[in-house]
Symmetry: C2
Subunit: 111 residues, 2 copies
Amino acid sequence: MDTAASIAQTPEPPYYAVIFTSRRREGDRGYAAMADRMIELGSGVDGFLGIENTRDVNGLGITVSYWRDEAAIMAWKRDAEHVKAQQGGKETWCGDYQVRIAKVERAHHGP
Amino acid sequence: MDTAASIAQTPEPPYYAVIFTSRRREGDRGYAAMADRMIELGSGVDGFLGIENTRDVNGLGITVSYWRDEAAIMAWKRDAEHVKAQQGGKETWCGDYQVRIAKVERAHHGP
């Protein structure tokens, strides 16, 4: 999806960010399709503001999704299909990961 | 530097994150060397907690640096060599970028 490969257009702060950093194990094993599906699902959640997603050639990936408030993050966290993907993430795809919930207080952009 | 290619080991929240998302123009033009130098410099600033950095094959990059507090971010923002790199970023490297300052409130990791 195009939304995952560009800089998110977000409103003026404050809003929330979920920073998901992960190291993939070797091989795709359905990861790309799952990731696309999660972006499609997540972007339909009320309060979703945008997403930025990159993964380098060595397998380190950072996905930052942006949300209106914590309630929107919680709604997405509890989505049934997303819960299943989180399980898959633990069992199949990610060797290691870190999730951070952060309140965006200031932002600026260029050029 | 190895610190840029792994998941940052950060303390318990709260702490701060600077989310820098950018789209590179074609070609390196000294970018990689500058980025390495900035990581080396930034990691020497009092209050620096860690950094995560990825760039995908299409040129979209996300760098998240973590800081003890806003004072540490401000000190780094004003570093002379860093200011010069920010200028270079505007003029030479980045077609488009977004910087967000966020307070990390919660975090969890796995497996």
